[in-house]
């Protein structure tokens, strides 16, 4: 056993590693590192992606590979360049990432989140919209909204998301500079006064699950205010954004009435963030086929996936396509898999795999699994 691991170690470090870059800060990444992997610090990974953010299959793989290695790809670099070059006094610029299934939209988003974290953005990250609207576990906590007539609350989901928000921004929230601008009265005894820190608002939402949705509304408003007043800069990342626009959710009220996405309170809050009536922020959303029901997956282009409603809401936006692997990326990925012993066998199989997977990152990973 020892000799085997020794042999593996020798093999691993005897050759020059061509698929890895030591540059672990996304802000320093440039064209030279395209197609190379960088590993994300484990603690940071736990902080950013503990409640989702990495696709499930990739999360499983990080466990197998004992590291979180993300490939530096062109779309992420483009986006970073755009963000660097943009003027933060102007209204926020919306970026829409689109691409075929399994082409790495979520991982590009993860890369960008890492960048945003490094740059000290306040991160508002929704890991997967369909988690709220389309995934219905046996006991989905639902209640009618008390503040808004005819709306539905998902208090537990929102509370969980607030926790996610808190962990992602634990450094920034310690800063007491971030103060809220309005008084919020939740009930006779409970209220949050103006001037108390933002973290208190979040804490309230987590502790008093009943008010989580209202807290979310308030939070969105406060974040916008803070950004406008240059107290912080905000990075909004919403994965599977088009899930907000599908005709029906899978939820239904106790009276068996189907719920539309716009009747859920959290939809309104997050859509508020996607509008460009505020500044000093970045909005990155993805349009994904998987976020929609099976009968609406014919094309991967944003106009089709976002429906008319979503397209009009986001317009104007910067479309960014996340494509399949290029030859260089494919080779680097294959050698990474070989290094991790995920792919073995004669070198010819790589050309075959390139063919059968059609350079689709997810398909490639899946097809290597039994090899």
């Amino acid at each position: 056993m020892i000799s085997r691991s020794w042999r593996n170690l020798c093999r691993r470090y005897s050759q020059t590693v061509t698929f890895r870059t030591t540059e672990s800060s996304p802000s320093q990444h440039n064209e030279k590192q395209i197609g190379l992997f960088y590993s994300v610090n484990h603690d940071l990974c736990k902080q950013l992606f503990a409640y989702g953010g990495l696709p499930k299959s990739f999360a499983k793989q990080t466990k197998t590979f004992t590291e979180t290695a993300i490939m530096v790809r062109q779309p992420a670099l483009d986006l970073i360049d755009c963000i660097k070059a943009s003027d933060f006094n102007k209204p926020v610029i919306r970026y829409v990432m689109y691409g075929e299934k399994g082409s790495g939209k979520s991982l590009t988003l993860a890369h960008l989140l890492h960048y945003a974290y490094e740059e000290g953005y306040l991160i508002v990250h929704v890991p997967w919209v369909s988690e709220f609207l389309r995934r219905v576990p046996r006991h989905k906590e639902m209640s009618n909204s008390q503040t808004r007539e005819g709306f539905v609350d998902l208090p537990l989901d929102v509370a969980a998301w607030l926790l996610h928000f808190k962990t992602q921004n634990q450094v920034l929230l310690k800063n007491t500079e971030l103060k809220i601008s309005r008084d919020y009265v939740w009930s006779k005894r409970e209220s949050t006064v103006a001037g108390s820190p933002l973290s208190q608002l979040v804490e309230h939402g987590i502790n008093r699950v009943k008010y989580a949705c209202d807290v979310l509304d308030a939070l969105v408003y406060e974040i916008k205010q803070l950004s406008n007043s240059k107290q912080c800069k905000t990075f909004v990342a919403i994965d599977g954004f088009n899930g907000f626009f599908c005709p029906l959710t899978r939820l239904h009220t106790p009276t068996k009435k189907k719920v539309k996405p716009e009747e859920v309170t959290l939809t309104g809050s997050f859509l508020e963030l996607a509008k460009n009536d505020w500044s000093n922020g970045v909005v990155v959303v993805t349009a994904d086929q998987l976020a929609l029901p099976d009968d609406h997956q014919d094309s991967y282009l944003p106009r089709y996936l976002l429906y008319k409603k979503g397209f009009e809401l986001l317009d104007p936006f910067v479309p960014i396509e996340v494509g399949r692997y290029t030859d260089k990326e494919f080779l680097s990925c294959a050698s990474y898999y070989r290094d991790r012993l995920w792919l073995r066998g004669p070198p010819e199989i790589e050309t075959e795999l390139k063919f059968t997977s059609a350079c689709n990152p997810y398909k490639f990973m899946e097809q290597c699994a039994p090899l």
Binding site: E100, T351, E352, F355, T356, A358, N360, Q367
Partner: protein, 396 residues
């Protein structure tokens, strides 16, 4: 009558009334013309002169009767065939004198189109010698004594063959002994080439011998012949051996490889039409030189969702190592992914013939890339859940 002679076993009964009209006419025609055709049959067994001899055994008598019957039958069939041919020629509006067997086949196919799967079951009109198996001539003289020394084995021709074979082996041994005694070297030119031929099959051997033989007997025949050709001087008996061997058909496809044409960019291309498998139909164009780009109905390889059909498509390319030297364009419709990919696979392999060398061509042939898959979906049978699947057996 004439037309119906050999066709009558095969025609559907519903056409009988048409035949009867012809039949009546022909019968009249026949009775008038019988005397004139007699001279053509002189080469048949002369049973009349034979039967005049007084001392005749019972076996001979029975044989003569049978032979007479058979000869008459054949004569009649022959006559009917000729008449039928003339009728057919008239029906087709051609000259009856120059109407050949080929024309007959064509006319029959035209007048009686048949969709029956097995060609042997389709209507036919052939000369009677081809339809009825040959019969043995008399095997004994008037006194009832057999001509053949192996007559009482029941299969004289077959055992004569074995006898001859054994004799040839013996001769080969003797010759070898002689050569050794003289200390001579064997003739280097005398080589027996058996690579391009095979032994006659059992059915073919039966036809040659005019006797039916059992499997065991056929095995014995092969054993004997194998032993003969394994001897060093077997080439001296080449003539005997080759009588019982059949040459292998040379591979036909090698001759018909199309020359690629050139498009306006100067690239060579070959289009294969009618690529079929299961219910899928399509055509495949191969362009050389290319970069390994594959277009299926306007999409790339992602047209197929699963790995299996993608592998099918790329297999001929990887087999010939042409994956990044050609471009492939396919139009395919009908069927499912497996059928479509199978059709494309065949089309690519068939088109690649123009761009590979002969060695590779043979390898492709051996790998089965150039073979059409003619299998179709098997129909469901009534009374059972599938084509072959039977209902679950239950005691009660």
């Amino acid at each position: 009558m004439a037309l119906c002679f050999s066709v009558k076993h095969l025609f559907p009964i519903s056409k009988c009334y048409v035949k009867n009209i012809i039949l009546n006419n022909v019968c009249k025609y026949t009775s008038k013309n019988v005397p004139t055709t007699n001279h053509a049959l002189d080469n048949m067994t002369d049973w009349e002169t034979l039967s005049k001899k007084k001392k005749i055994s019972k076996a001979m008598k029975a044989y003569l009767e049978r032979a007479k019957e058979h000869d008459e039958f054949m004569k009649k069939q022959e006559f009917e065939y000729k008449i039928g041919k003339r009728h057919l020629a008239n029906m087709m509006g051609e000259d009856p004198e120059t109407f050949t067997q080929k024309d007959v086949d064509r006319a029959i196919e035209y007048l009686f189109p048949s969709g029956i799967y097995d060609p042997a079951a389709r209507p036919l009109m052939k000369p009677p010698e081809e339809v009825f198996p040959a019969r043995k001539a008399a095997e004994f003289d008037e006194a009832g004594r057999p001509h053949h020394f192996l007559f009482y084995t029941g299969k004289p021709n077959f055992f004569k063959l074995l006898h001859d074979g054994a004799e040839h082996i013996q001769q080969a041994y003797n010759f070898e002994d002689k050569v050794i005694r003289k200390k001579a070297v064997p003739d280097p030119n005398g080589e027996l080439n058996i690579d391009n031929s095979i032994w006659l099959t059992k059915e073919q051997l039966e036809q040659v011998l005019v006797e039916s033989i059992t499997d065991l007997e056929y095995d014995n025949f092969k054993l004997l012949m194998e032993r003969l050709i394994s001897l060093p001087y077997a080439y001296r008996h080449k003539e005997f051996i080759e009588k019982y061997r059949k040459p292998l058909v040379t591979q036909r496809f090698a001759l018909e490889i199309p020359k690629p044409s050139y498009d306006d960019e100067g690239r060579a291309f070959v289009t294969t039409y009618e690529c079929l498998r299961k219910k899928a139909r399509g055509d495949v164009t191969i362009r050389v030189p290319g970069t390994g780009k594959i277009t299926i109905n306007g999409k790339d390889l992602t047209y197929f969702e699963d790995v299996q059909p993608r592998e099918q498509v790329m297999f001929p390319l990887f087999f010939t190592n042409m994956q990044d030297r050609v471009d492939v364009e396919c139009n395919i419709e009908g069927g499912g992914p497996s059928g479509q990919s199978g059709a494309i696979r065949w089309g690519i392999a068939w088109g690649l013939r123009s761009f590979v060398d002969k060695d590779m061509l043979e390898k492709m042939q051996v790998a089965g890339l150039l073979t059409r898959d003619h299998r179709r979906r098997e129909r469901k049978k009534p009374g059972q859940p599938g084509a072959r699947k039977k209902p679950t057996w239950k005691r009660r």
